[in-house]
Amino acid sequence: MEVTFKDVSLSYDGSREILHRLNFTIPEGTLVSILGPSGCGKSTTLMMISGLLAPTSGHIFFGDEDVTKQDALQRKVGMVFQNYALYPHLKVLDNIMFPLKMAKVPKAERREKAIKLAKLVHVDDQLDKKPGSLSGGQQQRVAIARALAKEPSLLLLDEPLSNLDARLRIEMRQEIRRIQQETGVTTIFVTHDQDEALHISDHIMVLNSGKIQQFSSAETLYDNPSNLFIAQFIGEPVINTIDIEDFDDELTDHVDAEILKRAKKVGIRPEALQDHDTGADTLATITTKVKTFEKFGREKNALLDFHGKRLLTTEIEAELAEGQELPLYLQKSGFYLFDQEGTRIFGGDQDVE
């Protein structure tokens, strides 16, 4: 089911607005991640999609239908809560069966389906336990099974993997991806782990302080960050950010003077600092001094001093000595300029939103 937000705003107490005029469309059958730092309004957005929370203003559409006025019962979405919200008085099996019971599915069928789902999320050995005696990760998986039980046309997952260990997490995220692709259920996946978002989703919506920063594919987020926040939020190691004043005249001949005048911050991805000339891909050259140089297996990292500011590069080929002078070649891809407001005005593909 396609989900559309039109100018949706929300305030819990009527005075402080948490979400400001959200506009987006989640295409049918896709898996979209909502990514953002803690407290930015991810859970709140999900609650509004589910119908548990009504927007203060604006409209929500499922397909062509305006569902703004419908409650959770009418919207019939599946949801995994951030705090799981398993029924404490019901055994695991009964928890998974509960939505089916409400849908008046015959008992034998309910059971069969619930056991199948329990197997899928690896909790089939816990069926007779109460949620209180499960580990956090097990509860999380039971919650996923319960959400899947009623085969919703829209599945909302609020950080469903946050409590799992690294290996199980990767396994479960592949499982979620597989189930999503098999059933074609439109899925919205909330996470604050960019790695998870990058791996699992068709599109990523990055939210910060109640506003959509960018809504695009993982690749676009990385290559064409629409603003400084995205550039700093996406990417590991974090992009180098320095002020435009830290450059003397290294950029003068390579960047339009008009743009240079508006620019405030410079973002350089660590892999965009090469220690050898790459010809046409090179934008400019700068001279730096090596502060530290580290080797981990195949990886070589160097922390450099540039006019008193620190730069990190991961693209060193030669062996370096600390304190030595090092000319670096700034690559065209991975070099961005941002204006006063943080909007990208140079670098990347300017036409891509």
Partner: protein, 297 residues
């Protein structure tokens, strides 16, 4: 330590902590209970010199053949069965409503709590007027529905009903407060999950509220059963020191009171107390057994 095993030392320490309360309990609860058990077997007893010349089962034999005691047992059971379920259902219903409203909720809570802090005698006086056959509010109210005047307190058919209505009303206040606490303790997220899972308001009530409230419901009903078995002061106050017209409100404790204070038959009074004790024990054990399977902590 969570998984500490009890040792001799830790048990001794625990006993020391419990000692002050234990002394009070033993003096004022355990000793009288034992004493009345023993007293129920006194068959020849000189009260003035505190000499027991014979023990036996005569007191119990008397009870089993005394028609008054039969009436008392029957009335007590009717009272318990009438009061407890009504109290639970009505106070839960009112608590649910109070939990919904935010408007003047503090005032309403106070209003409902008032009966609990008011003396039974005062309450009974008010109800005395409400029940008045000629000028009572209740008959006046019923007359709108074409019901002829009922002499609530004078007719043996209606006296027990009048007693039950007043007792339920008097019990409401405290139980509503208990239920409100219980309702507040149910996390909103379970209702959210239930809505997502497709449960309508009724199903949310039966699948979330009822099971998660069951510890409180259990407390309220056990408390209600024990309290109702021991009913006395309501009767004394409502019927001006009589057990109702034609003994229609004679209960076990009232019977005990009569035997003890007006007839000075201490052995029989003690024996009826013992019978009451076992009746309460039986019902409470049954409730405990039932709660093992249906109460979710």
């Amino acid at each position: 330590m969570l998984n500490e095993k009890p040792t001799l030392k830790s048990t001794g320490k625990a006993l020391l902590y419990l000692l002050p309360m234990l002394i009070i309990t033993i003096t004022f609860n355990i000793y009288p209970i034992l004493k009345s058990f023993i007293m129920s077997f006194y068959t020849k007893y000189d009260f003035f010199r505190d000499i027991v010349s014979q023990y036996g089962f005569d007191n119990f034999k008397f009870l089993f053949s005394d028609p008054d005691f039969h009436i008392a047992v029957k009335n007590t059971l009717i009272f318990v069965i009438g009061v407890v379920p009504l109290t639970v259902i009505i106070s839960l219903a009112i608590a649910l409503l109070l939990n919904r409203i935010t408007w003047l909720s503090g005032l309403f809570r106070t209003v409902y709590f008032l009966p609990f802090v008011t003396s039974t005698v005062a309450i009974a006086q008010v109800w005395h007027w409400i029940y008045n056959g000629d000028y009572g509010l209740l008959n006046y109210f019923l007359s709108f529905f074409g019901v002829n005047a009922i002499s609530w307190l004078e007719s043996p058919h209606y006296a027990m009903l009048a007693l039950i209505i007043m007792s339920v009303w008097k019990n409401l206040g405290f139980n509503i407060v208990l239920f409100l606490v219980g309702l507040n303790n149910i996390n909103e997220r379970y209702y959210q999950a239930a809505k997502i899972d497709g449960a309508n308001t009724w199903h949310q009530f039966t699948n979330v509220t009822v099971p998660l409230l069951s510890p409180i419901t259990f407390l309220v009903s056990v408390n209600g059963v024990i309290g109702s078995f021991k009913v006395f002061d309501e009767i004394f106050a409502l019927f001006n020191g009589t057990p109702g017209p034609s003994k229609s409100a004679l209960t076990i404790v009232y019977y005990l009171y009569q035997k003890f204070y007006t007839e000075w038959k201490y052995g029989i009074a003690a024996a009826s107390g013992v019978v009451l004790f076992f009746m309460i024990l039986l019902v409470t054990v049954f409730q405990l057994w039932y709660s093992k399977r249906h109460v979710h902590y």
